[in-house]
Symmetry: C2
Subunit: 175 residues, 2 copies
């Protein structure tokens, strides 16, 4: 079944299978610090056998305090709000550092409802994510079409993250 | 579609919806430290709106080093192996402590293949999990029927965890 963005869940799962296989082949480790997606991306990565070679651990940071505890500077959250590319970048950097991973992914945004803890900064469907690859940071902003469920939002974000990372890995090969 | 244990994915998702609603109603916070399920349980909990009130953060610890970094005593892993009720209990306690949560869930086991990092201790489909509720620990051991995919294993474990926690919450009411 396709969701509102025309994504198909089984295609997203296949994309992650290919991503995990590629990372194992390249011997590149990966980790995540996930707010909006809340572990869904890490779980997609580890749905493929052999993933323990590339993912050692990851974080779900569902509030500001958790992000700070796991290495996001409080000043970044204060200055840019939790929903910002700066916060996504700090999340990606922090998890990559903790796990000494080649790739760190940070995801922050709203999954279809106003965040009661951040009413001014949250807009449904707006998601920021960042990918740190061997120290180089790329950040992304996406606005998602309304989705039928929070799972569908999570999978739609996961698809964007996978596509962006795959493009980065292709560019690495060309460099 | 039912999996090999007779579970139905949409029923599992409904069970987690009910669990999250109940925890919000009871104002009980929850966290997880997930190895085998790798964030799938935290993601199921946060598929329901309002879950940010009860889940502040969680851990995915996919290797021994990650478990130790997040508060599992190395001696527990050495003495009982990573696949043991003692390790599951230490995981549940460690995450509950970090997030000062009412409920902590620790999950460790194998999802259908021999763990190359723990060849002697791992048996496909054997999973240990523990639930700490307000300081009281209950641990569980399950042997799963062969499942078609790692996702199906994760969901089958998630179902067992949800059922066990729901029973605990019912007993709390009676006490």
């Amino acid at each position: 079944m396709k969701n509102a963005n025309g994504y198909n869940e089984s295609d997203i799962r296949k994309d992650y299978h290919n991503l995990t296989k590629l990372l194992i082949e390249k011997n590149m480790t990966i980790t995540t610090m996930e707010s909006a997606t809340s572990g869904q991306i890490a779980s997609l990565i580890t749905d493929t056998e052999g993933s323990s070679a590339i993912l050692k651990g990851a974080f779900i940071t569902y509030c500001n305090e958790a992000k700070i505890m796991q290495g996001v500077p409080a000043e970044i959250l204060d200055k840019y709000t939790v929903y910002s590319k700066e916060t996504a970048e700090a999340m990606a950097k922090a998890c990559a550092k903790t796990y000494n991973a080649n790739i760190g992914i940070g995801v922050t945004g709203t999954m279809g409802n106003i965040d009661p803890a951040n009413p001014d900064a949250s807009v449904p469907g707006r998601v920021y994510f960042a990918i740190v690859t061997d120290g180089k940071v790329e950040s992304y902003y996406v606005e998602l079409e309304p989705q039928p469920t929070r799972l569908a939002y999570k999978l739609a974000v996961a698809k964007k993250v996978c596509d962006a990372l795959m493009r980065q890995l292709e560019n690495l090969d060309r460099a």
